[in-house]
Symmetry: C2
Subunit: 215 residues, 2 copies
Amino acid sequence: MSNLRSGGTERSYHHGHLRHALVDSAVSAARSGGPEAVVLRAATRKAGVSAGAAYRHFADRDDLLRAVARRCLDHMGDLIERRLDEAEPLPGSDGAWRRLHVAGRAYVEFAINEPGWFHTAFAIPVEAQPRREGGNRGLFQILVDVLDQLVTTGAITPEARLRAEYVAWSSVHGIATLVTGGSLRDLPPAERDASIDRVVRSVTFQVDNVGNLPI
Amino acid sequence: MSNLRSGGTERSYHHGHLRHALVDSAVSAARSGGPEAVVLRAATRKAGVSAGAAYRHFADRDDLLRAVARRCLDHMGDLIERRLDEAEPLPGSDGAWRRLHVAGRAYVEFAINEPGWFHTAFAIPVEAQPRREGGNRGLFQILVDVLDQLVTTGAITPEARLRAEYVAWSSVHGIATLVTGGSLRDLPPAERDASIDRVVRSVTFQVDNVGNLPI
DNA sequence: GCTATGATGTAAACGGTGTCTACATTGTAG
DNA sequence: CTACAATGTAGACACCGTTTACATCATAGC
């Protein structure tokens, strides 16, 4: 199986799809080992190619890591879109609230089921890419759309909409990182799930209430 | 300055405070370079000692990183305690809310002013250590105490207190990570600060409101 | 069809890293 | 004073990212 293309045909001097093969291999490694597991030489080895060959397709290791992170973000977006599609379509503001809730739960669900990919997705900054053919909208855009629906359905005021992305995202991203490898990684599963539920539910109040503190 | 103790005295075969020296050096490196900058060999070099010497004091590199992370957490706790001490002491529930707010702001303040230390603090899981002589209470305990005061002052019900740690911590930790090196790292400072403010303020509503969603 | 050229892969090296092993030196308990 | 445990050294090993000079290939233009 070494030195063969994934198809199984004997390969000649040129690989043909090396860039893709390297990313595939690194994505697979990141799934179980996180960002630290994406290592250039290992990827080239699995592709049956010399180490230097990688530099025909990536400027450096970070460049590969960025490509891997993009794929992880894609997987994440895919799951969230899928969960949104599965959600029962409630009319009006109820539906909008429901979608915010579903998206938040899916975000944490991905982090828990694919911690390696989740950590890799945020291990390196990656500029927003234009929407790919058949790809999802991207994490941030999904969130923006869901929040916009809260306004159009009259669930919240335009004032509450202001910077609501950051509020919602912070909560969900925070609990996801703390629970997967962070300081809360050893929480018993039941307590962990209850905490996630509490946090995701609380996003509602966070987004809905805007204004000055009483003090 | 090489091969000399920090005091300046010529050192003999034994260093005397090597463990401390290595941690100091690594903490200093982490301040500007984050967790990736804590490298064993560099630390031993700066201590004027051979690479292997480190293994008399640390099981491996992660063991050193853990020690560094603890110091970073200490620094974080110190700042938060300081900010809490500086806060004007309001009576009753107003004071309790104020303290929650101040602690949250201090948390993000540390992350922004010391991103290297902040990321190092959470780069590796570190078990809660018993309170050190003269040290702070530890991040989590500070939060617990602040939230308990919300109950004792009657600001929130015991029901709302349940798992409030996770709610408050998630928001604040989330915005801190997103804004320092995360996906929101390029936010213009004004927008960034406004977002932080919005998030920290929203913690109030998050903690205060508990119950089922309308849907 | 032949060939110049750019794209892609190779081989070998470099410096850096974490880690181990066998050995040297030193403080200290008995 | 001496045996021993603690601590530091020297040198090796495998691995990593990265660079350089060179080999092979696809193909555009004659």
